[in-house]
Symmetry: C2
Subunit: 758 residues, 2 copies
């Protein structure tokens, strides 16, 4: 089976899509799949996780670091670049197994000579500030070659310029370019060391306003290969000198270690990742590849060493979506890590702990108590979302949207993630280190947000936006109310847990938060919260109050009303707003998340009702339909949605604009959704009160699906066919784990293998 994404030839139209598709990263740095000769015009971007900046009135967004791989070639003075030169062939590929990017281009020069440039690069998974590039060049005829390689500080900015006060330092052959961010004066330093192999030429230092290059002119003998290797360290920090020194030191260490060893340690990390997470599908190569590619995309953006960053909605693929962390992380990505790499999952949920104060500020800003997590969260947890988040294509005016104000379910999602980490690992450290506080503050927020309807004797949640953002400002969104109920429940469970296991900590926490009165509020609200239920006749759950009264138009009819292909379908005057067409799974998402609470008939009725009414205008939608379809025993209904989800970053087929706003980039939620559709959907795995339930429902043609899972600190490998579930319990496991398969409960003892016929 191939692990290679590849492409022959060069199509300028695909530069942006390939930037996403061929991306490298290590969770701390993202590097778009562009070529060495590209600049900001081609959306070249080296994006460090967790660094944001704001200029003027424009929105805050990630900072792209100077591009340390920037390299320009000249053949007898004639530039070699796919953007301007003739070429005979061009191949580029990404090996997702070891996360290396390769290019091989044979340029055809005007003088008739040919120059072949091959390069390999990787963003080190063992040294998170390090990027390594190795370049070989060979000419068909003797020629004078010039290479200018260095650091390009003239970076892609949507709302910049973010970098200013550039400074270049050279010491012991290591060149460092540093700059300050506009808003918070953080230093971004990129250091570069170069090792030449076979190249013997004159080296000049070239310094521009925002760039530091070394220019080497050398004679190239026909047929001979000349090489150089670059080691780049990208760092940011408060202190300019310390940051710059650290980057240079890191390059020095890399130089000392050398290319082969660095590659080897990088590959070892990747081997471990795949061992912990790879899903094997027999019988469907296309699905196999797309799913692996999805996991690759998750691995390159997962924070392995920091709990201060989480995964942005567009990963580390640039500045789109403000580099912000959405609910996508908890709902669509976290499950993959919970099942495979709980240490990453812990980082993700701890991010919410570290941004609690931002969430408190947001709640206070809107006049509420507790914690109201940001729809678009950056490093501080303050909401980066603007009130005018879309531009009206008809008037070119900013359009007031309510993403920021009304998506209260974010707090429920954050609380859910924290509790899920505890539930999957049994590790209550995240609760003690702030997670419990987050949960209680979210519950307090919901009480503060809620209203009591006296003549109906119930708490309601009014004026909210659910997952279906085409319907803003609705009352009693089924998903929101259900998830708020879940938060209240979780808060009560947290209290119980702390009282039982950590009574002193509990007392301190309640006192610190002045929470005594809130406890009563929580209990009252928990017992009287209105959560929309299935209708007794139709079994349908109404998405929100009044949804069924909206125009029940068919999706093609709605689409036929579109006057401008980029027009936003939601908002005040959006075409979908007044109809039953939804952007993405909403009720159906509830059926997935709280799957134990709804009967199969209810799931079927709602899937069938909402499916034709869903536009899937969000990449968060398809996987949920796939999951619930599998759950109700219709994996073949699920399959097309699974494939749509799993291939999104391979095909580049996704919404590129909302209004006039570019929203391209990678789709980690869909990547995580692909894993969920496969593992939780087709393989049918779930954790239910300490028991691992497995209920496979494989699509046609799938012979088997195999995957490792790590639950409650123990490891298992599952191999499922339509007729059998085989479980290997790792020999290092501490104790037996109960599985429920086909209605049967079995204990998997450490080191044992069980096979259950269905």
């Amino acid at each position: 089976m191939s692990w290679i994404v590849e492409q022959s030839g060069f199509d300028p139209e695909r530069i942006t899509i390939n930037g996403n598709k061929f991306m490298l990263g290590n969770g701390a740095l993202g590097y778009r799949g562009t070529l060495e000769e590209f600049t900001k015009e081609q959306l070249t971007a080296c994006t460090p996780a967790g660094l944001y900046d704001k200029v003027g009135d424009q929105w805050r967004e990630p900072v792209n670091a100077p591009n340390g791989l920037s390299t320009r070639w000249f053949y007898n003075g004639e530039p070699l670049s796919l953007l301007s030169s003739g070429y005979e062939s061009h191949e580029q590929s990404l090996n997702i197994r070891n996360a290396t990017f390769h290019r091989a281009t044979t340029f055809a020069t005007q003088s008739g000579g040919k120059a072949e440039i091959r390069s390999t690069r990787f963003v080190s998974m063992s040294r998170l500030d390090l990027i390594v590039l190795k370049v070989d060049v060979r000419c068909s005829e003797d020629a004078e070659l010039t290479v200018e390689t260095g650091i390009d500080g003239d970076v892609w900015d949507i709302n910049g310029p973010h970098l200013e006060v550039f400074e270049t330092v050279e010491k012991d052959g290591i060149v460092s370019l540093s700059a300050l961010t506009h808003e918070l004066r953080q230093t971004v330093s990129v250091a570069e060391g170069v090792v030449l192999a076979g190249i013997d030429g004159e080296e000049t230092a070239v310094r521009t306003d925002k760039g530091a290059y070394r220019k080497i002119v050398f004679r190239c003998a026909a047929g001979q290969t000349y090489s150089f290797t670059k080691y780049i360290s990208v760092r940011y920090g408060e202190d300019r000198s310390a940051t710059t020194t650290a980057a240079a030191n890191s390059v020095q260490e890399a130089l000392n270690t050398g290319y082969e060893s660095l590659l080897a340690e990088h590959e070892r990390e990747w081997e471990q990742k795949w061992a912990a997470s790879d899903v094997e599908i027999e019988g469907d190569d296309e699905a196999q590849f797309a799913l692996r590619y999805s996991l690759y995309q998750l691995h390159i953006i997962a924070p392995t060493e920091s709990e201060k960053v989480s995964i942005p909605a567009r990963g580390l693929s640039g500045q789109v979506y403000k580099g912000a962390v959405f609910w996508d992380t908890e709902m669509f990505m976290l499950p993959f890590f919970l099942y495979s790499q709980p240490e990453v999952a812990r980082n993700l949920v701890m991010y919410r702990v570290h941004t609690l104060d931002g969430a408190r500020r947001k709640a206070a800003e809107y006049g509420f108590r507790g914690a109201y997590y940001a729809w678009e969260s950056q490093e501080s947890g303050d909401d980066a979302c603007t009130l005018f988040n879309v531009t009206d294509v008809f008037t070119n005016r900013p359009m007031r949207t309510y993403f920021r104000d009304k998506q209260i379910h974010i707090s429920a999602d954050a609380a859910h993630g924290i509790w899920e980490y505890y539930r999957f690992t049994g590790d209550d450290s995240a609760l003690l280190e702030g997670g419990a506080e987050v949960i209680l503050e979210c519950a307090r927020f919901f009480h503060s947000y809620s209203y009591y309807k006296v003549d109906k004797g119930r708490y309601e949640l009014l004026d909210v936006t659910g997952p279906d953002e085409y319907h803003e400002r609705v009352n009693n969104n089924a998903f929101t109310n259900a998830m708020v109920g879940r938060t209240l429940e979780t808060a009560l469970q947290t209290i119980e847990l702390l009282q039982a296991k950590h009574p002193a900590f509990y007392e301190q926490l309640i006192e610190k938060l002045a929470y005594a009165e809130d406890l009563e509020h929580l209990r009252a609200m928990h017992s009287e919260l209105y959560v929309p239920q299935p209708d007794s006749e139709t079994l349908l759950i109404e998405q929100f109050d009044g949804y069924f009264k909206l125009e029940d138009v068919e999706l093609p009819t709605l689409k036929s009303r579109i006057l401008n292909k980029n027009e936003y379908l939601g908002g005040g005057n959006g075409l979908a707003t007044t109809t039953q067409i939804l952007k993405q799974a909403d009720v159906v998402l509830t059926l997935h998340l709280l799957k134990d609470r709804y009967s199969e008939d209810v799931k079927k009725a709602n899937w069938q009702y909402y499916e034709p009414r869903t536009e899937h205008g969000s990449s968060l939608s398809s996987c949920i339909y796939a999951l619930v379809a599998s759950d109700i025993g219709s994996p073949d209904w699920a399959y097309k949605y699974f494939m749509k989800t799993a291939t999104i970053d391979l095909t580049g087929d996704s919404k590129q604009y909302v209004g006039t706003l570019y929203i391209g980039g990678t789709h980690p939620a869909a990547n995580g959704g692909a894993w969920m559709a496969a593992a939780l959907g087709f393989a049918g795995i779930r954790l239910q009160e300490g028991t691992i339930v497995v209920k496979p429902a494989l699509p046609q043609g799938w012979k088997s699906i195999s995957l490792p899972v790590r639950i409650l600190g123990q490891s298992f490998h599952l191999h499922l066919t339509s007729s059998e579930v085989a479980i290997e319990a790792d020999a290092s496991n501490r104790s037996a784990q109960v599985f429920e398969i086909g209605g049967q409960q079995l204990a998997a003892e450490p080191g044992n293998r069980l096979a259950i016929r269905l």
Copy 2:
């Protein structure tokens, strides 16, 4: 002083505006100020009060009756019409004292001859189905004249055709044209009798699909005047034959009575109206005329004999605004009638009693209990407002608006009107005949609509639209909450009154409405309702939750952003929606209605804050700013708003379009507002717990203002200057009435005259 509105010459551009400006009416019929030769193209309309029809999916609207005044002239075969002929002179005038319309046109024919046509018409104030037209013609040379006069059933319809199955009957020279309305199959009958004077010619009956004419050809001697008089009866009803017969009989009676007697009885009615209501202003002829004209407009549409109709927002000037009754009636027109003609006021408030079931249906439709009065009310009280009430000028798509769904204050306004009638007259019959039931049902609706905020310990009103319709779906609109509070108070006062004076009736009512539990709800809500209060520092009352956080843009800046002159400034994406610019008085209206509850400083601070932020996009706005300006002792600030209000139907300067919807027509709310600004503002009259308070604040140049008032069944005439208030108590009064003037309390004994120096 002139009582004449006049115009010389003919400007086709002003046909529509003149249709409003020269209108006649008697509260049962409106007849637009068009000419006899005009048709539906010129928006000729004879509009009976209370008759509505719906065709297909379009909105319900008033039905225009066939035009019984339709008349065409031919001079030697050449048509005489201002629309197509040459003319030497044209004058038209409206005498507002006796409500007669006159035209005098001298046509210049192609052959060089001249024909002078003079006509007078009136819509009888003594016989409410009757319209009378007298026409004189004189030619400069001998000629053959043809007159075709009859009934034109091809009427102006916005969303018609409303009339079908036309039928013509002639009996004893009286021609009747009847038709059925499309939806409810009501018969509309127009009967016509003609008396010729000096005309001796051949008469032929001409019948077309929708018309019945008599054609008379006669020789006209040079210099000789020939005349005819038409008597038209316009009626509608369930039974075709009965309605038609009644119309014919009415014409027969008119024929028997004769023109001069009919005019005399009509004029007697008008004399009484003016005696009961005329306001005299010394020192400002322009204001005097504009104010009288405003009262004229109110008189011609006031229901004097029916409590089943009220006054539509555009009076009886055609089909605009669906012929619907809005809160305008209670808030802007009712005060004039309360002070001058309480019997008309009673009809207006009883209309809400007769439409209570419609309001109950609307409440139930939205899932609430009690009575939710229609934003646009027709004969049944069901809401004629559509959910898509404006068309987006940029996309030509219907725009979802929330006029219908969210203007809950209408129920408060209806309840307010009923209680005001009782307060001003001491007559509790309207309460006993259904008014109390309305008040209790409105209060019940508000409880059902409200939510309780547990952590703030208060009831709130969420998701409403206040008077400022540019801000839809807001929480805790100051006006709405204050008026809802007033309804709860009124409900409790009603209960007290009934318990004390009509205990058996009270018991029956509570039982009939199953209201026992609601009483508790009402008391709780009344004591815990949140009503936004002045800020302790700034004294400002926030228009709704979050208003002060909206963009604080200046009105000219906002207007500079307009891309299309007809674009709607409210709604989902409206330019005003996200700013502090308001359509019309909102907080300031509260300060007027509940003027005893706010200090002068609060009124000043809020007037000054909101005034520059008000667009006055509604004709309901200016008068309120005038009223509060007078109240805070700044009549000169008030004056421009008073004049804008009082001249609106004279100048025709008002918004003609919202989106693509025509909203022209007359402006009874502004007419009533002009009276309020003069009587309640400049004269400073108010009724406070049985005492008539008078606190004049005359604008510069006004020497005095005099007016009659009728309060608690007794009549007074007030004459006010800046230095003196003189009161004449009618000799027929039963008892002394307490006045409060300049801090002094005085009793006006029947027949006495008091003069108090200020």
